[in-house]
Subunit: 200 residues, 2 copies
């Protein structure tokens, strides 16, 4: 056992870091919770946090217990640029959520979104740190305005198809959903946006 009674890298240390991350992300949001504060809360050196969990966004993915890393799944979609991205995004999204094993765990995640403490993680962490950067990678203009629109349609699809299971969306073949919702996503990604009035 180490000098402080806890061996660095032991399951205990990793679990303590993860518990501290969850607590601080929920309390302060993704940007408010620094690696330094998380490390202090867990009683470890900040370098150890980086060593075990990588970047703060990596730590967020670990602390959300997501069955897949959305950045890994969606990076290939974003890398191909904006043209046709709406349909590619929808097809990739459905391939993950329709997977029986991953899908069960994603549904459980979706059901926890409304629990106290989960919201700030979803709002700032999941959307801000994981989804928003995809728009930047893709090279669209105004990603901060466009990606939340994309997210709004995708969250609504998750609710209708996987959580509330409303027909005919719940049983719709993925190809039909891609053809129906892909163009809507494409419009949000690259279509016209209304002019925003000058601030008063």
């Amino acid at each position: 056992m180490g000098e402080r009674g806890r061996r660095p890298g032991s399951p205990d240390t990793r679990a303590a870091i993860l518990a501290a991350a969850r607590e601080l992300f929920a309390d302060r949001g993704f940007s408010g919770a620094t690696i330094r504060a998380i490390a202090a809360h867990a009683g470890v050196d900040p370098a150890l946090v980086h060593h075990y969990y990588g970047t703060k966004a990596d730590l967020l993915v670990a602390s959300l217990e997501l069955p897949v890393d959305p950045r890994e799944v969606l990076a290939p979609v974003a890398a191909l640029g904006p043209e046709g991205a709406g349909e590619r995004l929808m097809a990739t999204f459905l391939s993950v959520w329709d997977d029986p094993e991953i899908g069960v765990r994603l549904r459980a995640f979706a059901r926890h979104v409304l629990e106290p403490g989960a919201e700030v993680m979803v709002r700032e962490g999941f959307l801000g740190a994981l989804i928003l950067p995809l728009g930047e990678t893709m090279g669209i203009d105004q990603p901060g305005r466009r990606m939340p629109l994309v997210a709004s349609q995708i969250i609504g699809l998750v609710m209708m198809r996987y959580v509330l299971e409303v027909e005919p969306i719940a049983s719709m073949p993925p190809e039909e959903l891609v053809a129906t919702l892909g163009p809507a996503l494409q419009r949000y990604l690259t279509g016209p946006l209304p002019e925003v009035g000058a601030p008063e």
Copy 2:
């Protein structure tokens, strides 16, 4: 004090009908829960259910404790037909949800959507009995396919703007949301739908 020890029309009777309706809608869904079964469960005559609550859809609105009747709010939108309905629908929707007093109660309703028992009421009752008929009134083709698409975008908007409060959608002026999401709804209402393969 009536013959059965309960005065028809007393607050008790009305409450018993409402409690029975909630229980049976949750257990059997909107179509599965008949007025006859609800009346039997409440220990009253079916005629009394109709007398106090009107149609089964009226009873659903009462049992959901909605602060507004979506049919009343949206009927004028639907009555004007499909042209421009996307923007009208969005503007009307926002005027209700952005109202400080009604909005608070609608947010509370939205938060309960994921609770056990609430789902079947939302799926069959709220969407099936209240929203779907609007498409029929509006006179669009394939309302059973188009209205759930509209609902998917609106549910996603509710989550982003009112529940998770994701920026910039949470603070966006209604006019900007109407101009941004109205055309998306219009596309679902009257735009092209992919051809569906013949049943196998």
